[in-house]
């Protein structure tokens, strides 16, 4: 059956709620409306208003109460309506959610998921197109996941809800309408593993979330236009990062670049570049390049396409990799 990524996420929430009555879903407009992106569509009608409900508009409150629920043994899945609205909750995430297991010397784990639709490319207003992954990935104690395909959206969200530690689940909102034939429930390699999406020999393109599709497009065009055979690695879990899979690929191809929508400076790509360089240095024919958004606040809708990395920007970087 054909599923969009949005539909796959919805199915994952529904299946998790049916399977475990400790799973509750809440946030802003997730009840009757089914969420502004309809990811929670129909959940309240099926599961009842105790299991899927709307909260006051208070992101810190949503995350802080989820911590209390998880402490009590529930498995809350909360939605931050947009990336740019997730920041009021950062104090709860950084000061408590990430630290609770460590603070309590392992006595209290927090099985909770914070879903954040993120990234640009949908022609949105300010605060609706940002990529905050580096803030979360930098915080010890968090597990940061971002699917790039509908199958992964389903499998990784199910795995995140079943996970015994807090997960920041970053949903690439411009790919909500990406389609794939799925026979649910699909399974996938677990949290903490990267996947080679396309095997190749010319160079490695490392991507996650919304950029997985872009990287695949670049690989197709690179083959057609330049005869390149690009390997595409989907990171899937940003923290803890599956460095082995990235290093294995970079070692094989000898050239690697990482692509993300977020700004370049101190971005997540810098971490990948450093790890791959440190571990694969002797095998690399060129430095690891970063293909990213510019170091500017996310631009307005009419010019965002000049900010976002696309297949052209990736292929330009591949050409630079091959010049070394």
């Amino acid at each position: 059956m054909e599923f969009t990524m949005a539909g796959a996420l919805n199915a994952a929430l529904r299946d998790s709620m049916r399977e475990d009555d400790h799973v509750v879903v809440y946030g802003e407009d997730v009840g009757k409306l089914g969420g502004v992106f309809r990811i929670t569509d129909g959940l309240q009608a099926e599961m009842g208003a105790d299991r899927c409900f709307d909260t006051p508009v208070a992101e810190s409150g949503i995350v802080g109460t989820a911590l209390g629920m998880a402490l009590y043994g529930m498995r809350p899945v909360v939605e931050m309506q947009f990336d740019g609205f997730s920041y009021p909750a950062l104090d709860q995430v950084i000061s408590h959610v990430a630290k609770y297991r460590n603070r309590t010397r392992g006595h209290v784990g927090l099985p909770m998921v914070i879903r954040i639709p993120y990234g640009g490319g949908i022609g949105a207003v300010e605060h609706h197109s940002e990529s905050p992954e580096a803030y979360y990935a930098h915080t010890a104690g968090l597990t940061v996941v971002s699917p790039g395909t509908p199958a992964d959206a389903y499998a990784l969200l199910r795995a995140s809800i079943a996970f015994d530690d807090p997960v920041i689940f970053l949903e690439p909102k411009r790919r909500y309408w990406l389609k794939e034939d799925l026979d649910l429930p699909v399974t996938a390699p677990p949290i903490g593993t990267a996947l080679v999406r396309r095997a190749g020999t010319t160079a490695t393109v490392i991507a996650y979330g919304p950029m997985v599709s872009t990287a695949m497009e670049a690989a197709t065009r690179g083959a057609e236009e330049s005869g390149w055979d690009l390997e595409v690695v989907d990171v899937r879990t940003l923290s803890p990062l599956d460095v082995d899979t990235l290093v294995e690929s970079a070692t094989k191809t000898g050239r690697a670049l990482v692509v993300h929508e977020a700004s370049r400076f101190a971005g997540f790509g810098a971490e990948i570049a450093a790890e791959v360089t440190e571990r694969a240095f002797g095998y690399l024919a060129a430095p690891v390049l970063r293909v990213t958004g510019w170091d500017v606040p996310y631009p307005s809708a009419k010019i965002e396409r000049h900010f976002l990395p696309d297949a052209d920007r990736i292929l330009d970087a591949v050409a630079r990799l091959l010049e070394y």
Partner: protein, 362 residues
């Protein structure tokens, strides 16, 4: 707030009316046996000894810093005395005493200040959450736990403390509002002790009472003399019973005074007068309660001596346990970050291991 004649059977407090103003102080019957009254005194008196000892141990270097509860024993002990065994407490860093009164081992409760670990006890053991430092954040945790209890139909109440300074934080408002909307069985006890470190109440808010905020979110509000343990108990018990009945949260403002500095690292001479503290010493919650207990012959000299001796025993144990306590194994810092150590943490643990071995060899 005016100080009425203390009573063992009458609690007095002001309710916030529907129109959002404080009503007159009204007396309510409180049903406590003499045994319970003695327990209340014992907890308050031993708490005071614990507090004094913690200050002493800080001066002697066994604790890094300590936030005193001196003068707030009635507010803390009176409030937690209204809880049942299965209820939850969400304390701040100033509630060492409340945590102790809930049964947490005092040495474990002081781990935050001794520097042995951020939280020294298992929260599930006594249903006491870690002492929380970022202000008012724990009010949301209490609210969330209460929401979960309501969803599961468990007759559990969560109680959280915060202060007059923390009441200015956004999380305080978010917690009150979400709790009210979701009818969460949670009780918010604001200890209005007059100061947020150096900043006095009048610079935190233009409102005459923190309790008035209850009207703004549509929940009952109570203002009570925080130095009268019977009134605190009575007011909080009313709130706890209301929550357990399914009638939602209550905001209780206990008006008290921080007789000591903010922490042992603070200096009150820079921002307040001795006269002010002296006037509050006259309303000392422990002496005041003991005076009435003696007058009504609920306690005698022998009982007071017994409590004093218990305080000395606890103080001696604190000294023994906290002085020269080993630092613990630094490798453990990698062990509780996640349920399962990541490959990265395994690698870093090994690097630290090498550093430790090298240090041993030199």
């Amino acid at each position: 707030m005016s100080v009425g004649a203390a009573s063992l059977t009458k609690a007095a407090w002001q309710d916030v009316g529907a129109e959002g103003a404080l009503g007159e102080s009204v007396a309510h019957d409180v049903d406590l046996s003499n045994e319970q009254l003695r327990s209340l005194y014992r907890l308050m008196a031993v708490s005071r000894r614990v507090d004094r000892q913690a200050i002493n141990l800080t001066r002697q270097g066994a604790l890094g810093v300590y936030a005193s509860s001196h003068g707030q024993e009635a507010a803390q002990v009176g409030a937690v005395f209204a809880l049942e065994a299965d209820d939850w407490l969400f304390p701040t860093y100033r509630e060492t005493v409340a945590s102790f009164a809930r049964g947490v081992d005092v040495v474990e409760a002081l781990a935050l200040f001794s520097g042995s670990w951020h939280c020294g006890f298992d929260p599930y053991q006594h249903r006491v959450a870690p002492l929380t430092t970022p202000l008012a954040t724990q009010a949301l945790h209490a609210t969330g736990l209460a929401m979960a209890a309501r969803i599961r139909h468990d007759p559990i109440v969560a109680l959280t403390f915060f202060g007059d300074g923390a009441a200015s934080e956004g999380d305080a408002h978010e917690a009150l509002n979400i709790a009210a909307v979701s009818a969460a069985p949670v009780v918010f006890v604001v200890q209005n002790n007059g100061y947020a470190i150096s900043v006095p109440y009048r610079l935190q808010t233009k409102a005459s009472s923190i309790a008035l905020r209850a009207a703004g979110v549509g929940m009952p509000g109570i203002r009570v003399d925080g130095n009268d343990v019977i009134s605190v108990y009575g007011a909080v018990r009313t709130a706890v019973d209301r929550a357990r009945r399914g009638d939602g949260p209550t905001l209780v403002e206990a008006v008290t005074y921080r007789l000591e500095a903010h922490t042992t690292a603070d200096d009150t001479t820079r921002y307040r007068s001795d006269d002010e503290a002296t006037s509050w010493r006259a309303r000392d919650p422990v002496h005041r309660f003991l005076g009435v207990l003696r007058e009504r012959q609920v306690v005698d000299d022998a009982y007071v001596a017994e409590v004093d001796a218990e305080g000395e025993t606890v103080a001696a144990r604190m000294r023994d346990a906290l002085f020269g306590a080993p630092a613990g194994d630094p490798r453990e810092m990698f062990d509780h970050v996640y349920a399962t150590r990541t490959p990265q943490l395994d690698a870093q643990r090994m690097l630290l291991e090498q550093e430790l071995r090298a240090a041993e060899e030199t």
